[in-house]
Symmetry: C2
Subunit: 470 residues, 2 copies
């Protein structure tokens, strides 16, 4: 309709940049490449080690688990890695995701800061996870994988891989941490609607699961155990591969579509962040937002000197209370040794509701950047996180995931001490529509702050293997 | 960042109009006015009658229930009614909503049609309902209302009013149809997170509820009963008003933001619909999409001659099996008499999962247009609806609400018989994240098609009051 209707808003109306709420990019601005921060790191990442030989792991060591394209991405130093067109086609279902100015939250806080958030909850799974699930399914498809196995905590990763598997016609089997499987039955229905099969972990389907159940038949499970189960399935079967939803370098690289879009969108808003905030479990939503900005800093292209803040749950504080050391990525010691901030691969976090943040270790890239002084970390207790999320829901109209509540709590802490005009950007990594058990507990005043698991952490830290420094 | 990054998509890339998926309007194109179809109707709407005098109801009769601004909108013939700026400010949290081309669904169907959908699930409540909840709360606020009561079926309307009440600082009490209250416990948690109070209906808090419980203590409830309860609270208390989520003229008018945006967005896509499809319970999401297009038809501005198709559940088929007659809007006979397609105000639909479509009557405006021959109606059984929704989820990545499944089923029926290049536009009125009980039943093969309630409908039709024709 070329003609202009009288009831449609006028360009000269009330919508100036300062009261514009949502900043969309058109689909033709969807990134064509991911950003690989390994190209710009001031110091190389320590290698991943074979636990037997303590020698660096090479691509052939990983080939039972992953397709070669992903293994090569894991160690690549190419700055920009092209996103295959079939992946971009699926990305376009929800991407570019919106950047939103939190006007109503700002008003409720009475802050002098400008708060922006990148909203990844618009994806099919309701979180940032499909950003990597889709390319992982794609590369597996073209290399002939017949079955994908994975673990899931909150269920968001499982939903994402189920959706991606459906798009590229690969069956998906999911080991879901038992406490989440029980707390979030509807996540399972969601995964099954996309055609995946789900098992509560620890299960009796794998040796790793049976070993745990023999020691503790009531084990609530952990991401570490579920990873062992999924990895075992892939390692012991031809044509079956494993997909990991966080931690690894290629996963964080896939997530950089978030930050690449955010850089363009902040420019549309006429702003540049003074502080970037994200919640950290394995580190992927946080890395996805921050790495492209950090890349600008490393290449001296950043518009401002900015801070980067990782917010983790007080009940699973790998960055703030962990040891920077080589450790296994899973409870069953199936993985190579990875250098990162770890609470020890035997650490069993308390059953907090942010299932996606209950991992004993941090992504090597995030850990490395923390060691180099490029990012700060804080921990937030469960109730503070939910109070922040509830205020956000009432003002901004989006009910956040328990994981995302931690990022909101961090952003609110920053906003409360902000100088006039300070710009805060955080990653709202997902909605909480499948976390209503947790929100019900919060509404009814039944949510607890788990005691800081000091003894458990001390015990788990003591189980970290000793590696001679070279 | 003025500089162009090498990893961001190029305008000359793969994104032409024909493979563009999402069509966004910028916030400055948010409509400034609602469209009032009463200005353009070829024949006036029959008046609403006082059940005692059988005389037309005047504004004073309605003032115990509604603020005067809404009562005047109910009978207005002004073509465009201005949207107050405080309402537009809240609309901008999620509006304009996206128009999306269903490329992946088209491919799965092998259809020659182009299928577009307007997606209202991006709102805070996950459906189209906040489009009217927000202005209703606003007009109540400025006229001094201290408490809002309402009913809710699926829970989507309750969530919407809870959110809107929070924004304009008015407490909200919600009578939720008992079968939905029990099937969808998480909807209640959602409403409570926004600060509302919920009661299962029939309740012992009102005379209307107590009367039903006396006859049938195990009554599953119905929208009709819940309306009686909420209306009774408003009618018997100063400063308490009632809000209705569908059926009324002003509600359908508020929903026209959807169709007004869709007209602009279809133009962005370079298309104009051959057929418009929506699901109908009370009729508001359907009217919201169709009325602005029908207005173009009435004013001879439409680009094409198009069809309009209402899709209702076979278990509650007011348009296809109801009588066009004056009837009460509620079970307890608290409301005026309204001329519409009705199954009888005593009709109790079977407990199908599309709680939002379980209403005995249709909006007067929709009924009137159906009588005048401007729209068609079909009914769809529950399993066909969910099969359509499941295919949509797997292809388009959005898990639809059970109500929306009916619109998808209607669109798929049209697509299967479409001529080359035919353009189908439907309203995807909400997501199904709070309907996982229903999706679980579907996944497990436990969903049933309720037998057509022939005897119940015959009985209810016989209870429609006899009004002498004037």
């Amino acid at each position: 309709m070329g003609q202009r209707q009288s009831c449609i808003g006028s360009i000269t109306g009330s919508s100036s940049l300062s009261n514009q709420k949502k900043f969309y990019l058109s689909e033709d601005r969807l990134p064509t490449h991911w950003y690989n921060i390994q190209a710009d790191l001031p110091k190389d990442l320590p290698p991943v080690l074979n636990p037997g030989t303590l020698q660096p792991v090479g691509p052939p060591d990983l080939s039972p688990l992953f397709p070669m394209a992903l293994i090569l991405q894991e160690v690549s130093k190419e700055r920009y890695v092209e996103i295959p067109e079939p992946v971009r086609e699926v990305y376009r279902i929800w991407r570019p995701s919106p950047l939103i100015r939190a006007h109503a939250l700002e008003k409720a806080l009475g802050t002098k800061a400008k708060i922006f958030y990148k909203y990844e909850g618009v994806s099919p799974a309701g979180s940032h996870k499909p950003n990597t699930a889709v390319p992982q399914a794609y590369y597996n498809k073209i290399e002939g994988t017949k079955l994908l196995t994975t673990e899931t905590g909150a269920g968001q990763w499982g939903c994402s891989l189920a959706f991606a598997g459906k798009h590229f016609d690969i069956p998906v089997e999911i080991y879901q941490v038992k406490v989440s499987y029980e707390q979030k039955p509807y996540r399972r229905a969601f995964m099954e609607t996309f055609g995946a099969k789900c098992y509560p972990s620890p299960s009796d389907r794998t040796k790793a699961g049976r070993d745990v159940l023999a020691k503790d038949p009531k084990s609530p499970g952990s991401l570490g155990i579920a990873i062992s189960e999924a990895v075992e399935c892939a390692a012991t079967s031809e044509d079956t591969k494993y997909a990991l939803g966080s931690v690894l370098n290629h996963v964080l690289m896939h997530q950089t579509v978030t930050g690449l879009e955010a850089i363009e969108q902040m420019a549309l808003a006429g702003e540049y962040p003074d502080v970037l905030v994200g919640c950290t479990g394995g580190g992927s939503n946080f890395g996805g937002l921050c790495f492209p900005f950090l890349g600008q800093k490393f290449r001296k292209e950043a518009k401002k000197n900015f801070r980067v803040l990782a917010v983790e749950p007080a009940s699973c504080p790998s960055l703030t209370k962990g040891k920077y050391a080589y450790d296994f990525g899973d409870t069953g010691q199936m993985t190579p040794l990875i250098k990162s901030h770890t609470l020890g691969h035997t650490f069993m976090p308390p059953p907090a509701h942010a299932g996606g943040l209950r991992y004993h270790a941090m992504a090597p890239l995030i850990s490395h950047l923390h060691e180099l002084g490029f990012l700060e970390a804080e921990s937030v207790a469960q109730i503070e996180a939910f109070e922040a999320g509830a205020l956000f829901a009432k003002t901004e109209g989006i009910l956040p995931a328990p994981e995302a509540n931690h990022a909101i709590a961090g952003a609110i802490r920053e906003a409360k001490k902000a100088k006039d005009g300070e710009v805060i950007l955080f990653n709202l990594c997902g909605h909480g529509h499948f976390d209503m058990t947790a929100w019900t507990a919060f509404n009814e005043g039944k949510l607890v702050d788990h005691a800081y698991p000091e003894a458990e952490i001390a015990m788990a830290l003591s189980c970290i293997p000793t590696i001679p420094e070279n």
